[in-house]
Amino acid sequence: MSVPILDVIDIHAAYGRIEVLRGVNLTIPKGSVLALLGPNGAGKSTLLKVISGQMEQTSGDIHLAGVHVTGAKPDDLARAGLTTIPEGRSVFPNLTVEENLLLMSYAGVAADKVFDTAYSYFPRLHERRYQLAGTMSGGEQQMLAMARALSSDPALLLLDELSMGLAPLIVDDLYETVGRIAQSGVSILVVEQFARTALRVSDYAAVMTGGRVVATGEPDEIGEIMADVILGGAA
């Protein structure tokens, strides 16, 4: 078996005195899509912050491609190919689509290449390239956030709540794009509450609740036991 691209071992993390991650173990094989599911407050977004270096864990280890990276800075990880699309999209609302994309060129990627990547995945952004990002719909803003991340040529993509505030049809379209990205060889960790759509494009799935991963397996298995794991586990 090849070395997994991400291996999280017994991670603990806390906000002040409140511990939100209580020994998380998670493995993502290279080139696969893992859907991390769970209710609000389970610790999913916190885990992404720890993996991407935005938050320091209190204990535990993180291995990227067989290398110990605990304590690495987020910008170093981003340069190494770990890209995060945060919850809430975080586009610059007062800049146009093209200006938002142009910002990625400051990371060393040529502007033309950034535009090519963005517009090939999302032709709609080309139509809206002179429009202020804040005036676009939620789905189009999510496309912009994804395009911005893809232009950095990621090897491991962390997607946080892709579906938040979006209509189901838009969510389906975006997850089709996620599937295309995965086919290009990018490993993806999808944090999602919209379980069924995420499971459709994932190779593996895990369920978090109460700061722990309580179930892992194939998407079909997880889909069947999802309600039992979340509701039954809490009750």
Binding site: G134, S137, L231, A235
Partner: protein, 548 residues
């Protein structure tokens, strides 16, 4: 021609005509001079006025504001309810929330009944987990209206129930969210109209008592330029009777040219206004306000009013600190002990709402509640006979699919004894401003050339071109603006000049420190095994994931 003849013919002489022409010319000149002076005066005055700043620039570079209000919140604390939140269930009636941030970005939300962020935002997930039909939950929580600026929805309104209207509006200067049930179809902000005079009914009728008939029939008229009539559910009858049940208004202003940001939250429960506000009856009103700017810092204010009646602008009522009449407050004795003890025995507790305020420089926050009624159902459930709920549920056939879990939940909830808190009037505001980061000033090299060129005085010459001795000068010629003194770079504070001994010492020290750091790192790796920095025997570092 004699002068007598001239007079007889009434003709003027050439002299008379010349004098008259000069007088007229002088008069025209005087008028032109006065007009010119007037124009210059206007110009100078205008210039002076234009030098004054048109608007005061804001003293902050970034900000955040937040306001949230609800007149009635029901909180249910029960660990058996499988929702990872505390309280597990909450209902916020007539809920409003606004937020502002640097950009400016404004968001506003109004809801007739907001079930908390956990359920309100994640209703779709709950529906999926419970196996509910997608049509019920795919569109998200229905009883809410939202706006965002910049965004595609800057203003919106929705009538949740007949007469219950939610309105949200956002712009680059403010965000407002309102919810209220009232015959006027609109709600007013609290805490700002305390000194305002009540309107005169005759003024509303525009001095024409016969207009009352049209008013009662809901006919609205206006002069040219007047705003469109309000879309009140009762038409203009709302002027006579304005009944409001549960209202809340959250506003925040963040004008770029203003010197401060403001967040205001108003929660009001039970109000009736008669005769266009001449008589007002209010149940509970909680108003909090937070302002912030960098110079003055943050300021928080609150106003909690319970059971107030306002007649012609004079308020009578019980407040959080006593009885208030004509602006004076008198302390009142507390509630008698016996009824309180009796209610406590049943698990019912009354608390005057708590208010928590904090200020730290330009960061301010305040939250206030009107009245909190806490009901602990443990004593009540102990008094009730136990139902054989488990036997009844186990007798039911198994439910299909994911709904099977509901049986277990019903049994678990039968054992529940939740604590229920009723909060009457809740308002939260906070605001924060930050000043701009100071940019370092770049030292300017004094290379500016003087405006007046330095010219050597020419020797005087005569008509033939030969130089003439000018003799002794009468006075010293004025000194032309000399070049500013050139400052030696070495005199500027900072790094010593290149090639000097201090600079050599600095460079040498840096090189020595680098070499020492490299040596210590290498030695440490050799001694302690840098290849096995992890407890799992893996090397430490940051791999290039694209080449793995």
């Amino acid at each position: 021609m004699t002068c007598v003849q001239c007079n007889e013919k009434s003709e003027k002489t050439l002299y008379d005509k010349t004098v008259a022409r000069r007088v007229a010319t002088a008069s025209r000149r005087t008028k032109r001079s006065l007009a010119a002076l007037a124009v210059m005066g206007l110009f100078v005055g205008g210039s002076a006025a234009s030098l004054q700043p048109a608007v005061a620039a804001s003293d902050f570079a970034g900000f955040t504001t937040f306001a949230q209000a609800t007149p009635l919140r029901v909180e249910i604390y029960e660990a058996a309810i499988p929702i990872p939140a505390s309280p597990q269930i909450e209902f916020n009636f007539s809920y409003t929330k606004v937020a502002g941030a640097t950009g400016p970005i404004g968001t506003a939300r109004a809801s007739a009944m907001w079930p908390g962020d956990g359920v309100g935002e994640g209703l779709k997930t709950f529906g999926e987990q419970l196996g509910l039909p997608g049509q019920l939950t795919d569109g998200g929580y229905p009883a809410q209206v939202n706006a965002q600026s910049p965004g595609d929805t800057a203003t919106a309104s929705q009538e949740f129930l007949p007469g219950s209207v939610g309105r949200v509006s956002t712009s680059d200067k403010k965000a407002v969210a309102k919810v209220g049930y009232g015959t006027t179809g609109d709600v007013t902000e609290g805490g700002t109209n305390g000194d305002a005079k009540p309107p005169n009914l005759l003024d509303i009728l525009q001095g024409d008592p016969t207009a009352l008939a049209g008013l009662l029939l809901g006919t609205a008229t206006g002069k040219p330029g007047d705003a469109a009539p309000s879309s009140s559910p009762l038409g203009a009858l709302g002027v006579i009777v304005a009944a409001g049940g549960m209202e809340s208004i959250s506003t925040t202003t963040y004008e770029a040219d203003a010197d401060r940001v403001v967040a205001t939250a108003t929660a009001r429960l039970g109000s009736v206004a008669l005769l266009a506000g001449l008589v007002k009856l209010d149940g509970v009103e909680v108003v909090t306000k937070t302002t912030s700017n960098v110079t003055g810092g943050a300021k928080t204010t609150k106003s909690i009013t319970i059971g107030a009646m306002t007649v012609a602008g004079n308020k009578f009522g019980y407040t959080g600190t006593g009885f208030e009449a004509m602006g004076n407050q008198t302390p009142i004795p507390g509630l008698p002990d016996d009824p309180v003890k009796a209610l406590a025995a049943l698990g019912i507790k009354f608390e005057m709402g708590k208010s928590v305020a904090s200020k730290d420089g330009a960061v301010g926050a305040i939250s206030a509640e009107g009245l909190r009624i806490s009901i602990d159902t443990t004593p009540l459930t102990a008094l009730l006979p136990k139902l054989p709920l488990a036997d009844l549920v186990n007798g039911l056939p198994d439910l299909p699919g994911q709904a099977a879990i509901l049986k277990g939940l019903i049994v678990a909830l039968g054992e529940a004894h939740p604590r229920i808190d009723l909060v009457l009037g809740s308002a939260i505001t906070n605001a924060q401003t930050v000043k701009a980061l100071p940019f370092p000033e770049t030292p300017t090299t004094p290379t500016d050339t003087p405006e007046a060129p330095v010219v050597a005085p020419l020797a005087p010459t005569d008509a033939t071109g030969s130089i003439v001795d000018p003799g002794a000068p009468e006075a010293t010629p004025p000194v032309v603006n000399p070049l500013p003194p050139v400052t030696n770079v070495a005199d500027i504070p900072g790094l010593p000049p290149l090639g000097s001994i201090p600079m050599a010492l600095i460079v040498g020290g840096l090189l020595l420190a680098s070499a020492l750091g490299w040596y210590i790192t290498t030695a440490g790796n050799l001694l302690f095994g840098g290849a096995a920095a992890c407890a799992h025997g893996l090397k430490a570092g940051i791999p290039d994931l694209r080449k793995v």
